[in-house]
């Protein structure tokens, strides 16, 4: 706060804050409205609660699996598979993008292959991975990695190419070699692009892991969805989906915070 603010400035700041609060309130209200109408609609049987579940049923299921002690196992299994898949996909993606940038020949040769690989629905390869690597978390993580890898490579590489050519010329005029161009110009200026890729990867890793669990798993949120479907405990399915959504949102915001922290530091 600065001293000697004019009364106009004060009014402006207050208005801004009020608007922010209004938006936060409306967001909360929307959430409450969704849950309330869901509950009402299923109680009145306009929608079949057997198929659509309801907030209270979900809450009960949640408490039940918490008491059974299995909640933690399932959440933890899926969570660590996703985090590992996410990190590997992002790190390898960036490394490959760097290699492509360092060698123009490499990138020209690989370009059509990358475009095709990007268009392929990697999820369809899930069964192939399982036969290849055996059923287990390795195959699940591989599905998650492949889903996010190619997208990361393309996005980050494109970001690299868009680096301001003037800045590159500048460091070249000081005699910078290719590695220096990379570390001093390309990587720092592509930071926003890389952060973006990370945010997208959060979503993709979750999808990859859940799909992997659909095919092969004995624990995890994806497993609960499949099992719940098989024995027609659709409450279990909905509960898992909800937990999934919350975790995915948290992970997204976590990544966003880390990005802000890094850019503030450097």
């Amino acid at each position: 706060m600065y001293k000697n603010e004019s009364p106009e400035q004060k009014k402006y700041l207050l208005k801004l804050r009020a608007k922010k609060r209004l938006i936060a309130f409306l967001r909360l209200m929307l959430l409450v409205l969704i849950f309330a109408s869901w509950e009402a609609v299923t109680r009145l049987n306009w929608l079949d609660p057997f198929i659509f579940s309801s907030p209270t049923r979900i809450l009960n299921t949640f408490i039940r699996i918490y008491k059974e002690g299995s909640l933690f196992t399932h959440v933890f299994t899926t969570l660590w598979e996703t985090v590992v898949g996410f990190l590997l996909g992002t790190i390898f993606g960036i490394i490959i993008a760097i290699i492509l940038w360092l060698s123009e020949t490499c990138s020209k040769v690989l370009e059509p292959y990358l475009v095709v690989a990007n268009a392929l629905p990697k999820i369809a390869l899930g069964p192939v991975f399982i036969v290849w690597m055996g059923a287990g978390p390795v195959a699940i993580i591989t599905v998650a990695v492949t889903v996010s890898l190619i997208v990361t490579v393309l996005e980050v590489y494109t970001g690299f190419l868009e680096t301001d050519s003037e800045k590159i010329r500048l460091v070249q005029s000081f005699g910078a070699n290719r590695k220096q161009v990379l570390t001093k110009v390309v990587l720092p200026s592509s930071f926003p692009v890389m952060m973006n890729a990370l945010k997208v990867n959060v979503g993709m890793s979750w999808v990859g892991v859940i799909v992997g669990e659909f095919l092969v798993s004995k624990a995890g949120l994806g497993y609960l969805i499949v099992y719940g479907g098989q024995v027609f405990q659709l409450d279990l399915v909905m509960t898992s989906v909800l937990i999934l959504s919350v975790l995915a949102a948290l992970m997204y915001f976590g990544v966003q915070l880390i990005g802000k922290w890094i850019s503030a530091r450097y």
Binding site: V131, G134, A135, Y227, Q230, F232
Partner: protein, 331 residues
């Protein structure tokens, strides 16, 4: 003049009625099957030999790929009749659905899967799986439950005396075995026989023989649908019964030829081998009636596996009236 008018009216009426005679009206039914397997031969006989057509039904066959998906299609109205393990009906009833599904015709009375090993074991005994690793199928599914039931019957405790993998999805079990996972795997036909043919595995035991009679696959529809369309249900059941009788009288080769159209990628000899195997094991119902004893054994198996909290009432979930009428009508 009057004569003319009369003649005109008469010919008009005749013309209107004409299209009604001679051409039969077909009712279109969507039938969702849990998977496409020789295990369900009578169904394909009914389709290919025109028994459904005789009963005035045109069948659209859809592969549901899983009992839960078949049931979902039936409950949501996407399919008129579902064909899968009746455990789905039990689950749905127990979970409190009001318009639950009711079974009206049974097709198979034994498990249709086989235990496949990596080496031929002509003197296989169930003791031989002690200390080994079996890919058994997913929790909540009947193939796994039957396997565990059989093991327990032979004093082998799943988890303690033998390791069973429950993580692999049904469609991928063969693939997982191929990749080197496990010592044994349970597979349906024609996958089991084609593995044998390629030398990838050897059939050492029949789950159907080992487990005793369990209603494995049956036809069901929503209670409300049956109430609204008894005629369709009856026609359907008649066609199935005709097929069941036909198979009884026919040779393995004839049956193979009848179902060949439904399995274009499988050669005739393999089809015959499989049909022979299933027939010799008394896999198929001779009529569509589901016996109470068999129904309750299924529930026993499910309870043993920990998937059933309470028994569901036989008289609510199974309606044999259509099957009984079919037997009476078609001699």
């Amino acid at each position: 003049m009057k004569m003319m008018r009369f003649l005109l009216l008469f010919s008009l009426i005749v013309l209107l009625l004409l299209p009604g005679c001679g051409t039969k009206e077909f009712k279109e039914i969507t039938l969702n099957e849990v998977t496409h397997s020789i295990f369900y031969a009578p169904q394909y006989v009914a389709i290919n030999k025109g028994f459904f057509e005789e009963e005035g039904l045109k069948i659209t066959l859809v592969n549901g790929a899983g009992a839960d998906k078949v049931m979902t299609a039936v409950l949501s109205g996407q399919a008129d009749i579902g064909f899968s393990g009746p455990e789905a009906c039990i689950y749905v009833y127990n979970e409190g659905k009001e318009d639950y599904a009711v079974v009206f015709a049974q097709l198979t009375k034994r498990d249709g899967s086989f235990l496949v090993a990596r080496e031929p074991m002509p003197d296989f005994k169930w003791e031989d799986v002690r200390g080994k690793f079996i890919i058994g199928g997913r929790k909540g599914g009947v193939p796994l439950m039957t396997l565990e039931y059989v093991l327990k019957q032979n004093n082998i405790i799943p988890g303690k005396d033998v390791e069973i993998d429950t993580s692999v999805q049904f469609a991928l079990m063969g693939g997982a075995f191929l990749s080197g996972m496990g010592d044994f795997v349970t597979l349906f036909e024609p996958v089991a026989s084609s593995f044998e043919k390629e030398g990838n595995g050897y059939i050492v035991a029949s789950m159907g023989e080992a487990s005793g009679e369990i209603p494995y696959t049956a036809y069901y529809a929503k209670k409300s649908y049956i109430e609204k369309n008894p005629g369709i249900i009856q026609s359907f059941t008649n066609a199935i019964y005709k097929a069941q009788q036909w198979i009884e009288k026919s040779s393995d080769r004839e049956v193979a030829e009848a179902i060949a159209e439904s399995f274009p990628d499988t050669d005739l000899d393999l089809l015959e081998t499989v049909v022979k195997r299933y027939k010799s094991q008394d896999t198929w119902n001779k009529n569509p009636v589901m016996k109470e004893e068999a129904f309750n054994r299924l529930q026993e198996v499910m309870k043993e596996a920990g998937e059933l909290a309470q028994f569901a009432p036989y008289d609510k979930l199974v309606d044999n009236s259509f099957a009984e009428k079919a037997i009476e009508k078609i001699k």
